[in-house]
């Protein structure tokens, strides 16, 4: 499959699930889906299009907690970033670790640094921070103050 065919397949399979689609350059594609559709996007990218999971970036913004899943299409020289926005009050979504084991560690990191809860994660414990890190304090939240719990 060529680059154009691969991207067309991706767009067709996700269909109306794509909230917006943006090609910043031929090498960088960004698309947004709802949190509940990330699993489907992951399945298509990883299993059908053989994309390589690079990493996920979590960003705390005033409106929402954004997670970007970066997928490399190595044969076509481009990176597809799947964006999803979670409500700041209760950031929660399904874990993708069972679908793609490469995602297991970064979900642990997103949980401890940004406070995103991943449902059905096989091993949701601290990755970078110590075990005795106080509960409810997420250092990558904008309102993080050392020693105070983060609020939504």
């Amino acid at each position: 499959m060529s680059r154009a065919e691969t991207l067309t397949t991706l767009k067709q399979k996700l269909g109306a699930k794509i909230l917006n689609y943006f090609e910043k350059s031929p090498k960088r594609i960004y698309l947004e889906v709802r949190p509940e559709d990330v699993t489907e996007a992951t399945r298509i990218l990883f299993q059908e299009l053989q994309a390589r999971f690079q990493i996920a970036t979590g960003v705390d913004t005033p409106q929402a907690i954004e997670i970007l899943y970066h997928w490399a299409l190595d044969r076509h020289g481009c990176v597809v970033s799947v964006r999803t926005k979670l409500p700041r009050e209760k950031p929660e979504m399904d874990s993708l670790a069972a679908l793609c084991p490469a995602i297991e560690w970064i979900e642990r990191e997103l949980w401890e640094l940004l406070g995103v809860h991943f449902r059905n994660h096989p091993d949701l414990r601290h990755l970078l921070l110590n075990e005795d890190w106080p509960e409810g304090q997420y250092p990558l939240r904008r309102d993080f103050v050392k020693g105070k719990p983060s609020h939504g």
Binding site: K24, S25, K27, R28, Y30, R52, F53, Q54, I55, T57, G58, V59, L68, H70, A72, D74, R75, G77, C78, V79, S81, C100, P101, A102, E104, W105, I106, H126, L127, L128, L129, N130, P139, L140
Partner: protein, 408 residues
């Protein structure tokens, strides 16, 4: 049921670049489970980066790792350039690739030396580090530093390569071919090295893809990926070279991939140096501001792809900066790579993904049942070497002889 013993390896050692903590669960000699704990070196660099302006950020990420000290800056400046649509002059692209390849060479030689050391072949260790020294000298000549070169910046590079330096640098780079051929022949032909590394710590193609493993770890298992070729950047699309791939996924193939890759690095470095004789400057487009947006930069570090994501809000510092080093993806594969092998092989298997894991001194083993038996790092290296000695006797072989007279 066999008695299960836990061998903790790590977390700290002065030689270790990144502290990690492995718990090897063994039954007798056999490894049955591995726990990996990281985070001992978590410095909050992503958060810290939000308080630095774009020029400082590059210096900050340069300090993430002492060995890949130019891989992070290359990925980082590319992310900034991607976010801000910054052009880079052609001459700067050649300098970026040149520094990147010199770094790959010294990093792979470092690893080769350590692998030799773990297996009990200290001649390989001493000699590969001796040739690494030449590379550090060239890097010092070009950038002013043996490590942490401080040469990358958004829009280009900070220093030009002086024309009068090119002939001497070329001579040293070309001079490395001979010793590399020697290492290649020694490793490929020596039956004892083969006995210690062939069929050991094997990772299949499917395991690599599941874990998203990268770099030589992936290429040794037949996964043909290399960011330098797949996502052309710097000067990699402008020079002639090839990606080295092997099929077996064991420690032997990882050694072979790294050695052959070094010969390709020499080819790239040579071509970049030749181009630098003619391609004119400038070496910096000197961007004044980074417009709002987001950008991704990735670069093939010696251990695999380094990934940087930058979000700009139009100010002079990143609103978010995500960094992912290759070991983040490569380390989890250890869980499967060591299963079923013996403790004497675990050292080389854990070292095979090259996590800069040279820490065996801080390693101690406790018998869980009575808490008394204690193995030190020296014991683990001893175990590994005893296996080599035992094989030497069984096979009636002398071990690798480096025909150093061939170097002239």
């Amino acid at each position: 049921m066999a008695k299960r013993t836990i061998i903790p390896i790590g977390p700290y050692h002065a030689l270790q670049e990144e502290p990690e903590f492995f718990r090897l669960h063994v039954e007798g000699e056999k490894v049955v489970h591995l726990d990996i704990e990281i985070g001992y070196n978590h410095r909050g660099i992503e958060k810290l980066s939000e308080s630095k302006h774009y020029d400082q950020t590059v210096f900050l990420v340069e300090r993430i790792c002492g060995i890949c000290s130019t891989s992070h800056p290359i990925a980082c400046v590319q992310a900034i350039e991607d976010a801000g649509d910054v052009e880079v002059p052609e001459r700067a692209l050649y300098i970026r690739s040149l520094i990147g390849e010199l770094e790959r060479l010294h990093s792979h030689l470092l690893w080769l030396g350590l692998a030799g050391h773990f297996l009990g072949f200290n001649t390989v260790w001493m000699w590969s580090w001796r040739f690494r020294e030449d590379l550090l000298n060239i890097l010092e000549l070009i950038t002013g530093n043996r490590n942490h070169y401080g040469i990358m910046k958004a829009g280009g590079v900070r220093r030009d390569v002086r024309p009068e330096d090119i002939p001497s640098v070329l001579k040293i780079v070309r001079g490395l071919q001979k010793p590399l051929h020697l290492f290649r022949d020694t490793v490929m032909d020596d039956p004892l090295i083969q006995a210690r590394t062939r069929g050991i710590g094997t990772l299949t193609r499917e395991q690599i893809i599941r874990y998203g493993a990268l770099g030589p770890t992936a290429r040794a298992s037949g996964v043909d990926i290399d960011v330098r070729r797949d996502h052309p950047h710097a000067a990699y699309g402008l020079v002639d070279w090839k990606v080295i791939v092997a099929q077996n996924g064991d420690v032997f193939d990882k050694v072979v991939v790294r050695i052959l890759e070094m010969l390709e690095s020499i080819k790239i470095a040579e071509q970049c140096l030749e181009k630098l004789k003619t391609v004119p400057g400038p070496v910096d487009s000197n961007p004044k501001e980074i417009k709002p947006g987001e950008g991704i930069g990735h670069y093939e570090a010696p251990r695999g792809e380094v990934f940087h994501y930058i979000r700009s809000d139009g100010s002079n510092r990143p609103a978010r900066h995500k960094v992912r080093a290759p070991s983040f993806m490569n380390l989890p594969t250890d869980r499967e790579a060591v299963l079923g092998y013996t403790v004497s092989d675990a050292t080389i298997i854990l070292a095979a993904v090259d996590p800069c894991y040279c820490c065996t001194e801080r390693l101690a083993a406790f018998n869980v049942a009575d808490g008394r038996k204690r193995w030190t790092s020296a014991d683990l290296i001893r175990l590994s070497r005893e296996k080599t000695e035992r094989l030497k006797k069984e096979l009636g072989l002398p071990g690798p002889q480096l025909p150093l007279e061939a170097l002239g």
